[in-house]
């Protein structure tokens, strides 16, 4: 590049840095500060001491670690075979499986939790059938088991998607040379394929650990409040914003999430990614033998059945008149939907509006950071990337506590409204929490773009700004759209920050509404109906963006077809 950076680029970088400092760094540091500060501003460990003196807190700490660990184990057991089968073998419906695997992500885990109790609970569908036919029941949803089960089912797609990408990125020559040297079957997988895909697995597993540690809604709905996130939430909401124990719990959560994030990169240090060379194929897809086919399909169908159970359960619940102590509901009705449409159109609008704006903020910032990171030499540009990535490790509860503490008494200019009671803060919280996803997506898109495409534009007379508009952004469109979808999707199901930051009913998004409904047995029907609507909205948004990407894609695809035809006619 001709120069290190332009003034405009620097200005954008500074603006983004200011945003991150104000809405991420300062709030988190405030939480840390309160956890370590005595009343006079000095340093103290007494809050930590009193935290560990409370037996409930010690138990919560242990439970959170226990749940996070086993969730990662079970999520891996589901994801690894799915990823391997679909990425590696010729398989009917592989794309469908990978798409269905993403489904759990678009339904809030706590919504699923209610359905899971109805299906897998002590008196749920499965145990009723088991008890009737075989005379025993499984304690799948009892206590922490339930949390682990729900979390593993909800978050395994993180491992699945990362692993599939990693597997698809393995150059076929890597595997072929191993086969050429005599390796095959499971040994080939264990010695070559899995190690090469390891970065994907580790990244996914770390993410699952962090998300489970951070999840507030699921334990609350399953009434397992003896975990860290619920305790932090309960302390702050019941005792008050001044209670230091909530801050200590927050700091512990941040510390463990950061540790997981750091460990995942530490494990992979010095390990080289096997990336695909342009023009070379990924792993060759093989055919399964007959027996293998049956086994693979059986496993996949079983997993899919369990994965889809909460969705089916929620759908049933939303149209059930009564459903308790029975395999399926006794009678059906649509009145829950009527209730929801009467009660909460405002919430539906709020969700679309908040998450849409947050996702837009995310892709704009993410595109800018990706460009600054990869195409300029602004000093400290890595710090932007690093800070955004750190946001992954900040639980929603912690960020919300930080916001409430940092911005208390601060008014929005000209309106006189308190920032902490405004929906604007909720949008900012969503944007900050989802920024890492958008950033990864945009960075990947820009990384794939050869810099000579931009140099060619400059060489032909386009300034940096024009080049960004005419070349960079259009070519990044796929990555930007993907970032937009993921940010929107995951923000729509966000509950932990939502629960703490929503102060007025009419400002609440759907996730909050679903949670409120689910609190009472009578509200479960409408809650489920609202859940179904949330899934539909997210799915519609996803489909729309997919269409946009696909339209760009088909042109390339048509190009490919035209080329094939050209070759065929030339041959004839």
């Amino acid at each position: 590049m001709s120069s290190r950076f332009t003034p405009a680029q620097l200005a954008v970088a500074l603006l983004i840095a200011a945003f991150l400092v104000l809405f991420l760094i300062v709030p988190v540091l405030t939480v840390v500060y309160v956890a370590f500060a005595d009343g006079t501003g000095g340093f103290t460990l007494s809050h930590f001491a009193s935290f560990f003196h409370i037996s409930l807190m010690r138990e919560s700490f242990r439970n959170s670690l226990y749940v996070a660990f086993w969730s990662v184990v079970f999520a891996s057991l589901i994801a690894v075979p799915l990823a391997y089968f679909t990425a590696r073998f010729e398989f009917r419906g592989a794309a469908l499986i990978q798409t269905l695997g993403v489904l759990p992500l678009i339904m809030p885990p706590f919504v699923g939790a209610v359905a899971m109790q109805l299906i897998f609970g002590r008196s749920g569908t499965v145990n009723l059938l088991l008890g009737e036919w075989f005379g025993f029941t499984l304690p799948i949803m009892d206590g922490l088991n339930g949390v682990i089960f729900v979390e593993a089912l909800h978050y395994f797609p993180f491992i699945l998607m990362n692993l599939v990408v990693a597997l698809n990125n393995i150059d076929s020559s890597m595997e072929e040379s191993a086969q050429n040297l005599g390796s095959s079957g499971f040994r080939l997988f264990r010695r070559i394929v899995f190690p090469l895909a390891m970065p994907g697995f580790i990244a996914g597993a770390a993410l699952v650990f962090i998300k489970v540690f951070d999840d507030l809604g699921t334990p609350l709905v399953l009434n397992q409040t003896n975990m860290l996130a619920p305790q932090a939430y309960l302390r702050i909401t019941t005792i008050g914003i001044e209670d230091p124990i909530g801050y200590v719990a927050s700091v512990i959560m941040v510390a463990f999430s950061l540790f997981a994030l750091w460990a995942s990169t530490w494990v992979m240090r010095d390990k080289e990614y096997a990336t695909l060379q342009r023009g070379y194929g990924g792993l060759a897809k093989r055919r399964l033998g007959r027996g293998q086919s049956v086994l693979a399909y059986a496993w996949i169908l079983l997993v899919l059945a369990i994965v889809l159970a909460p969705h089916l359960g929620i759908l049933l619940l939303s149209i059930a008149k009564v459903w308790s102590f029975s395999v399926v509901p006794d009678s059906y009705t649509l009145e829950h939907y009527a209730t929801v449409f009467q009660d909460s159109p405002r919430m539906i609008w709020n969700t679309v509006f908040y998450c849409g704006v947050a996702a837009l903020i995310d892709v704009v910032i993410a595109t800018a950071i990706a460009y600054i990171l990869l195409r300029t030499r602004i000093p400290g540009r890595q710090a932007l990337d690093f800070t955004v990535t750190m946001a992954l490790a900040i639980p929603g509860v912690v960020l919300a506590i930080g916001y409430l503490r940092t911005f208390r008494d601060i008014e929005i200019p000209f309106t006189g409204e308190l920032l902490t009671t405004s929906w604007a803060l909720l949008i900012i919280a969503y944007a900050v929490r989802r920024l890492p996803y958008a950033l990864r997506s945009c960075v990947a898109a820009l990384q794939q773009m050869h810099v000579s495409l931009e140099e060619a534009a400059e060489n032909l007379g386009a300034t940096k700004g024009r080049t960004i508009r005419r070349i960079v952004v259009p070519l990044m469109a796929g990555g930007i759209a993907a970032g937009l979808i993921v940010s929107f999707m995951t923000a729509a199901v966000e509950l932990s920050a939502t629960l703490m930051l929503v102060t007025a009913q009419h400002d609440a998004p759907m996730s909050y509404g679903i949670y409120l409904y689910m609190q009472s047995a009578a509200g479960r029907g409408p809650g489920a109906a609202l859940g179904v609507l949330a899934v539909l909205i997210v799915a519609a948004g996803t489909y729309a963006s997919h269409r946009v990407i696909a339209r760009r894609g088909t042109r390339e695809a048509q190009g490919g077809i035209a080329k094939v035809q050209e070759i065929q006619t030339a041959g004839a």
């Binding site: 590049m1 120069s3 000579s452 032909l460 300034t463 070519l475 760009r552 390339e556 190009g559």
Partner: protein, 360 residues
């Protein structure tokens, strides 16, 4: 398309380093208006860096670059009017062929009909006028390169830069495109600089060549000058195939006497100032290969050896001949029914002192 104004390019004492790594060291070269000029060197020699410097994508720590007498050091790439064809062509996949070619004209805010006319003319020139609505992905490698070329010359640049233009093409197409590039350049008359690591490519089409190694220009000259009078050991070795023989040189009247264990004594028709260790170079085809019982003649120095390897290259056969502890490469022209000497055969090699080049 009409002939373009011919412009002179001057690179004056340019040095460039990335941290402690010196990429270009005090490089000076003048490229005459309308010249087809090659920058030749192994990878990492700094040749691409020099090209990118001229295009404005790198910044030199010192020195000047003058295009048509004007110092461009402070001018950003988009104001330079220097067309560059990238090694990977850098065609934008989200634009059609015509949109790609129109880009630079649109950036110059030319009226729409002018843009359309010049796009058509440029595509016509490279023989792709029927491909205007295709996407780059639908074209073959050779066609993509023509589009890249059309896109660059459409803006009627002052200078044309080609970065390894032929490296992504297959061998047959490479030879074809090389002739086409040359004829296009002659037609437009545009000063053209191209970077290559392939000495055959550089020698075959350029008016002059600058050979770079480790960021330093080793020699500038016409292809024949480089081949016949390599300035140093690097050039001798890099340009073409050559035999290098170590020995000692001392003055002998107005000539030189070169003495080596391999060849004994030979008289060279060049003056030297004093005795010194030296090296002589001789091309394989300048060696005469004969049967072991060949009587020899007075004009040549003859040595005996044994064929170690034989490579059949069509026009000639390349023999590696073991002479004492050393090996000499000798090319013998091949004709139908001509002699072929198998490995192990005893042979004689005749060396004409007039074909020997003393390296400094």
């Amino acid at each position: 398309m009409e002939a373009l104004r011919k412009v002179k390019v001057e690179v004056r004492n340019v040095s460039l380093a990335y941290g402690a790594t010196k990429v270009l060291h005090d490089v000076s070269v003048t490229i005459e208006p309308g010249e087809f000029f090659a920058l030749l060197g192994p990878s990492g020699s700094g040749k691409s860096t020099l090209l990118r410097l001229i295009a404005g994508f790198n910044q030199a720590q010192s020195g000047q670059i003058l295009i048509g007498g004007e110092d461009l050091s402070r001018v950003p790439p988009w104001k330079r009017d220097i067309g560059m064809v990238f090694q990977n062509y850098a065609l934008w996949p989200h634009m059609s062929v015509a949109e790609n070619v129109a880009f630079g004209l649109e950036e110059r805010r030319l009226p729409r009909d002018v843009v359309r006319a010049r796009v058509a003319a440029a595509l016509e020139l490279v023989g792709l006028k029927d491909y205007a609505e295709r996407r780059p992905g639908q074209l073959s490698g050779g066609q993509q390169q023509r589009v890249a070329l059309a896109r660059t010359i459409a803006i009627e640049p002052k200078v044309l830069l080609l970065d390894e233009p032929l490296s992504n093409l297959d061998a047959k197409l490479r030879v074809h495109m090389r002739a086409e590039l040359l004829s296009l350049q002659r037609k437009l008359g545009i000063t053209t600089i191209f970077v290559t690591h392939d000495q055959e490519e550089a020698l075959s089409i350029s008016d002059r060549v600058a050979v770079l190694d480790h960021g330093v220009i080793q020699q500038i000259g016409t292809p024949m000058e480089l081949y016949d009078h390599p300035a140093n050991r690097f050039i001798a070795d890099f340009v073409g195939t050559i035999n290098l023989i170590r020995g000692r040189v001392e003055p002998n009247g107005d000539r030189a006497r070169f003495e080596s264990p391999l060849l004994g004594r030979i008289e060279l028709r060049v003056p030297v100032t004093g005795a010194a260790d030296a090296e002589i170079a001789i091309r394989p085809h300048a060696l005469v290969l004969a049967a072991a019982d060949h009587p020899g003649d007075a004009g040549r120095v003859w040595v005996e050896g044994v064929v170690a390897e034989r490579e059949f290259l069509g026009e000639f056969v390349r023999y590696t001949v073991k002479v004492g502890d050393a090996e000499l490469i000798a090319d013998a022209p091949h004709f139908i029914g001509g002699a072929s000497r198998p490995p192990g055969a005893r042979v004689k090699i005749g060396i004409d002192p007039a074909q020997v080049k003393l390296l400094s």
